[in-house]
Symmetry: C2
Subunit: 414 residues, 2 copies
């Protein structure tokens, strides 16, 4: 990606997928290779058009008109100045361009004060949220625990006997929710031998290599994962935990995840667009990162969390469930993961909790997806991006965007 | 399919795709083979879940609440008796079961008087409409001609120079619309050498066989079709005509078909669910048969046609455009195609016109999809099915369903 920058990688400028049919060298394909939708800079188009490349299942919004989301746009946001974690002076406006942003919505006290779409994204298009998906799953799991439908102290194998020989057999549901399981699974996208690669194939994100005989579904992949270390020893970010949690929820409720998210979140929030989930080769939703939704709908979700579960005139999830998430988990557990950009944070029920002066907590996904909630500032920031670098954590993304969010929130508090 | 019947092929009874994950032998796969979604009886599930098996593009309904579709259910429909074209006495209720019906909505004077869903279908699920898709494309083409955007007397190559060496070079737009072109293309699904097979691969419906080097997109396939016979010599049903028409419309308007259908039909009619179109390997919509929509939304579309383009408080297409379709074309042209079940019919702008005593005309798709409009009876019948036999025309489907529709309409007229 050496010669690419945010400007020359813009999919509209490049003419990707324009014309009938698009030119051969401008046609994004589902498969890998130079024109594959999984490779940067093709991702700049593909992240807003996942359903045109692969099988998906609807997260239905239902027949009602969407809930109100008033615009009170402000023109003073782009000029907000801040210092990055590397000491660079910049502004909000400059930073969103530099971070390959596809769209940002900022809510202040429930109104849209800032909204922008770039490149392939528009207000009506669902964009892949990647691991922001996990926070939807975690919220539903926490709600089901509150309802007594699942017991977070129970071992996973009580609900999923298929995992009795895997690492998860004796992990508790809570350990899976908080990602403190001991399981051999590397999330390192730059390591070709990392388990996340096999996960990608099993989940149907990547084409299997010639002669592949490994697992061909998320469930069968999870059953292969052996234990490594001890459960409860500390936080390590492993997507397999979310897939276990999602499978467990579906098993217990007897409902597929697209339906659960529709019934418990989409229809109640009054979402503006249907969302959708990527499905694996046997039709189960990929819940570790497969949700696609519109930016305004992600903002609605964040606003509901900011209001302790209230939105659209109703209590959508119990306030105590939101409080438990916003309150975070043990910082010592989180510290062991060594995220330089997130000192003093914790991870609770698939959410990242800052414990900072804004009480901010966030749903986060690779390549720059975020739903950032700052209760003390009455601010929610929903953002989609197609940054060439996958990782958050210690990356350039966090070093710029975390100070940027805080600066804008504090500016709006004034 | 010798041992299958409407009862034992029911996908719910068979447990297809139930459980998390579904059992191996109950899991429908996108590919061919015993568990392939293209083969009966798997189609009984797959026709209601196309997006979970393949890439698709949204036909967006927009943010508004759906238009009203009042229920005035009647309980006297199932008992309506009629005689099939083969002389058998039966009833409406018995016939819909025998025809592998997935769902039927009957409108009388704009209200739902009958509504049923069976097997894998429910009110909120889009079902594949197959060639009913063509009638949406034909209506938009006729409207664009009315607006002066396309000239139906012009040769196709004026709009699509890529087809200058194909059969379509000197065919007029009208000949394509009415399927009176002379082109070497067999629609015979039971002939392994029929061009419809290559179309299926090029459109991304079927997996290419090992070593396939033929066209890999709908557009590139159309360019390969040579002339056979003369243009204007008579009607022959060939899906390639619709794909040419759809390509031409997209080229002229600069808009992809999913957007055109959304803007001109879905949003204006106040549809209840997003629809979607199957897309080919280069992302262009398959317009000969790739539309999926809910049954009520298909009924809304039919009701708009019955009301000469008026629906939801507005004129959605010009009345003269609807009148031209409902008036049909030359019966002599149609007769040459030799459909025993449709004597005296004609084909106009991608619609089948009966010229019968109800002035009925219809959109039709293989395996039993229909939107049947009987202006004189003020009746619209929308139906989805997963009959094992593809063909309409001379098949058992028409021999039962055409008399059934007429009997119910006449019953409602009383």
């Amino acid at each position: 990606m050496s010669n690419w920058n945010p400007q020359n990688s813009d999919p509209v400028t490049r003419g990707l997928m324009s014309g009938f049919p698009p030119a051969r060298d401008k046609t994004i394909r589902p498969e890998g290779g130079e024109l594959g939708g999984n490779s940067f800079p093709n991702t700049r188009w593909a992240f807003s058009h996942q359903r045109e490349l692969k099988p998906t299942a609807t997260v239905r919004r239902g027949p009602a008109a969407p809930s109100a989301l008033p615009h009170k746009l402000r023109d003073d946001i782009d000029a907000v100045a801040f210092t990055t974690m590397e000491g660079e002076q910049t502004t909000w406006g400059a930073s969103i361009e530099a971070l390959y942003t596809d769209g940002i919505v900022i809510l202040h006290r429930g109104s849209i004060v800032y909204e922008t779409y770039r490149g392939a994204l528009s207000a009506d298009l669902p964009h892949i949220a990647f691991s922001v998906t996990k926070s939807f799953v975690g919220l539903i799991a926490a709600t089901l625990a509150h309802e007594g439908v699942i017991d977070t102290a129970a071992p996973v194998a009580r609900y999923l006997p298929e995992l009795a020989k895997s690492a998860f057999a004796d992990a508790t549901v809570r350990q899976v929710m908080d990602m403190t399981t001991g399981v051999k699974y590397s999330e390192n996208y730059t390591d070709p031998l990392a388990e996340v690669r096999t996960y990608g194939i099993a989940a149907g994100y990547s084409k299997p290599p010639e002669g592949y005989t490994g697992p061909d579904s998320i469930a069968s992949f999870l059953a292969t994962l052996p234990k490594q270390g001890e459960h409860g020893a500390g936080f390590t970010y492993k997507t397999c935990n979310t897939e276990v949690l999602a499978w467990l929820i579906q098993r217990v409720t007897g409902k597929p995840m697209p339906q659960l998210i529709s019934e418990r979140i989409w229809q109640k929030l009054g979402m503006e667009e249907d969302g959708y989930l990527h499905v694996d080769p046997v039709g189960m939703a990929a819940c570790g990162g497969g949700l696609n939704l519109s930016l305004r709908d992600l903002a609605r979700f964040g606003e509901m969390m900011r209001n302790r579960g209230q939105y659209n005139g109703q209590q959508i999830v119990p306030a105590t469930v939101v409080d438990d998430i916003a309150g975070g988990a043990r910082k010592e557990d989180f510290a062991k993961a060594g995220y330089a950009t997130m000192p003093g944070w914790s991870y609770r029920s698939q959410w990242w909790v800052s414990h900072d002066d804004l009480n901010a907590y966030t749903a986060r996904g690779i390549h720059g997806q975020v739903c950032w909630i700052a209760p003390k500032a009455e601010v929610v920031i929903a953002r989609f991006a197609s940054h060439p670098v996958a990782a958050n954590g210690n990356s350039i993304l966090d070093k710029v965007s975390l100070p940027a969010y805080a600066a804008v929130a504090k500016h709006l508090m004034r």
